[in-house]
């Protein structure tokens, strides 16, 4: 707002200025929610793309942070997998188990300096355990990457290897 030349300032100008100030004050009162506090979901972290299932519908098994790359992941499991993980120190998940590891890049929590929260998802991995024709377990591994998430890898093996082994070997976080 440009300031008016003092000599030219007429009564009308002054009235306009006053009402402008008044409006500003009112606006100030109406919109005094700090932007950090304003209600909103974390849209950045939503899992968008063509995932076969939404792992956020499952239960938490454990989580971890990669400090160097500023990412964080949560390992989810369906009911069969969670039931097993929370009662067994071994890693021989029964058929019907599916694990999903969701990795997010991190962002500073706008509402808590001292905390990082999920930002855009980097990848979503799945390991599904099924019984093969020979009654031996097979491990179907799938990875989805990018935004929106797209399938970038799919493998099947009779023993967990590489990433599927990484997922299967995680230990459940203690939740009494």
């Amino acid at each position: 707002m440009s300031l008016m030349n003092k000599s030219k300032r007429s009564r009308t100008n002054r009235a306009a200025l006053l009402s402008a100030v008044f409006t500003l004050l009112l606006a100030g009162c109406a919109s005094d929610v700090n932007p950090r506090v304003a209600t909103r979901p974390n849209n950045d972290a939503a899992l968008t793309g063509d995932l076969p299932v939404n792992p956020l519908q499952w239960k938490v098994i454990t989580s971890a942070i990669d400090k160097q790359n500023s990412t964080m992941y949560t390992l989810f499991g369906n009911d069969v997998a969670v039931q097993y993980a929370r009662t067994h120190a071994q890693h021989d998940y029964p058929a019907g188990s599916t694990l999903s590891l969701v990795t997010w890049s991190q962002q500073e929590d706008p509402r808590w300096f001292g905390g990082n929260i999920p930002s855009a998802p980097k990848s979503v991995e799945f390991v599904a355990v099924a019984l093969g024709p020979d009654k031996k377990p097979t491990y179907v591994y799938q990875e989805f990457e990018g935004s929106p998430l797209k399938k970038t890898s799919s493998q099947e093996s009779t023993a967990p290897d590489g990433r599927s082994a990484y997922l299967v070997n995680q230990r459940a976080a203690v939740m009494p």
Partner: protein
Amino acid sequence: MAKPPLRSSVTFLIILGVLFLGMQFLRPELTNPPVKADLQAPPEVKQILRNSCYNCHSNETRLPWYDKVVPAYWIVTSDVTTARQHLNFSELGSLPPAAQKAKLYEAVNQIQLGAMPLPAYTKVHPEATVTEAQLKVLRDYLAPASLTTPAETATANEQYGKWLPNGTNLTQTHLSPNGVPFLPDYKNWKAISSTDRFDNHTMREILGNDIAIKAIAENHINPWPDGTVLAKVTWFQQPDDKGFVHAGAFQQVELMERDSRKYAATGNWGYGRWRGTELKPYGNDAKFDAECVGCHTPVKKNDYVYTMPIAGQGKGQSQ
């Protein structure tokens, strides 16, 4: 015999004046007790706190003359008394360095969220407002997050070994001292966010019951519906040799249960915290939750909830 109006209003003013002067003698005592252990921090950090916070949060209160005039004096005295109870920089110096920093993290957050200095105070004392540049100085002092100290792996392992055989069958019904019930099913709720708390070397999963998940899916999260329960599960950060930090020993679980009748006195939320695998209820008496409410008040306009739930809840099938 009515008095002339002029004389009565003069009398009225005189009475007011006398009352005003008389009121000045009603002065609650506001002393500055000796400073025993002032906060330990670099001078540029302390300078900012001195300028913006010390009038209320220290034993070095220096009131300008206009704050010494009743009734302003009454408001300020009561603010200072309460403020010192919540946070007194003149006493922090005796705490371990990490605990002093924890207080500073809370201070930065109160500033960032616009809760401190009290907005009513900065209206009258604009010079106490913390500028963006000053806020940066405070953040930079805290920011180089000290690397995670290797937590005791043994503790985490022992805890896991004891929990595994009987963990999920545990039916604890401990009440929090304020009456908030422990809900053992929290571990089966859905995740709505997670946090990496580098300020205190913990990591958390935030879980929500079905009412919470439905509220997120329908975007009804301010206010959250009654019946919402949010759980925050906290573990100590456990670094491995590959630069990853895993969920280590379980520290605590906290619940926020929304009930606008039962918990009207604490902003419609009931707060509870259970520590360790024995789930010991936190707090000495029913009033312990003043601490919870105090910390959540800066996000009052977001129905007292800090967590930003991850969008897309309720989308996609679960099997």
